[in-house]
């Protein structure tokens, strides 16, 4: 079974600074997808960034980028120039190929606080 681990229950960052959220996963599949989702108090999960495992290049979306280390099964999220609106719960998630179903497997989450 696939597992996703986020070892940082809480993180804080000063506005305009950079913060990195950690995520490790375990899988026996060779083809899969990794995601970072943001969940504000409204509870709606919002996709921040995704990475296809077969792509060697790290994904980037504006101020958000990932460091994908396939051999180490590590998938960290870097938020640059942090803004007050970035404060939320962040979840790392894994989705495998059809052989493992279409479900997303989520980590436990990291609560990010942005200090003004």
């Amino acid at each position: 079974a696939q597992t996703v681990t986020q070892s940082q229950p809480e993180m804080s960052v000063q506005e305009a600074e950079t913060v990195t959220l950690s995520c490790t996963y375990d899988t026996s599949e060779s083809d899969y997808y990794l995601f970072w989702y943001k969940q504000p108090p409204s509870r709606q999960m919002i996709l921040v960034i995704r990475q296809e495992a077969y792509k060697q290049q790290n994904a980037t979306e504006n101020r958000f980028s990932v460091n994908f280390q396939k051999a180490a099964k590590s998938f960290s999220l870097k938020i640059s120039d942090s803004q007050l609106g970035d404060a939320a719960m962040y979840f790392c998630a894994y989705a495998g190929t059809e052989t493992s179903g279409s479900r997303l497997t989520f980590g436990e989450g990291t609560q990010l606080t942005v200090n003004p």
Binding site: R43, Q44, M45, E52, A93, A95, R103, L104, F106
Partner: protein, 116 residues
């Protein structure tokens, strides 16, 4: 609608009561997922539909949980004889096609169920 709509937003049920939670996916979306999110935890997969077919219900915690999507659009998650451990946020997500290659999952704002 423009997004995934869930109702009610909040539900308080007395122990032993039956509840029904509704999910209106984005129009035309083939895949529909239900997740259960306990307080302070990441969402956990419950069940998956492809159109009207329930292809995976391996995450349903007991036979008190039942989900349907009879016409391939609106879905209902029913919980019979609710118990305190059923208290959680129930999230619904939909995606345009199956698999993850060229699509993403869009989440609703969830239903917070409290069993007293």
């Amino acid at each position: 609608g423009a997004g995934v709509s869930q109702s009610p937003r909040y539900k308080v049920a007395k122990r032993g009561q039956d509840v029904a939670l509704r999910c209106d996916p984005i129009s035309g979306h083939v895949s529909l997922f239900w997740y259960q999110q306990a307080l302070g935890q990441g969402p956990e997969f419950l069940t998956y539909f492809q159109n009207e077919a329930q292809l995976d219900k391996s995450g349903l915690p007991s036979d008190r949980f039942f989900a349907e999507r009879p016409e391939g659009s609106v879905s209902t998650l029913k919980i019979q004889r609710t118990q305190q451990e059923d208290s959680a946020v129930y999230l619904c997500a939909s995606s345009l096609v199956t698999g993850w290659l060229n699509t993403e999952a869009f989440f609703g704002q969830g239903t917070r169920l409290t069993v007293v």
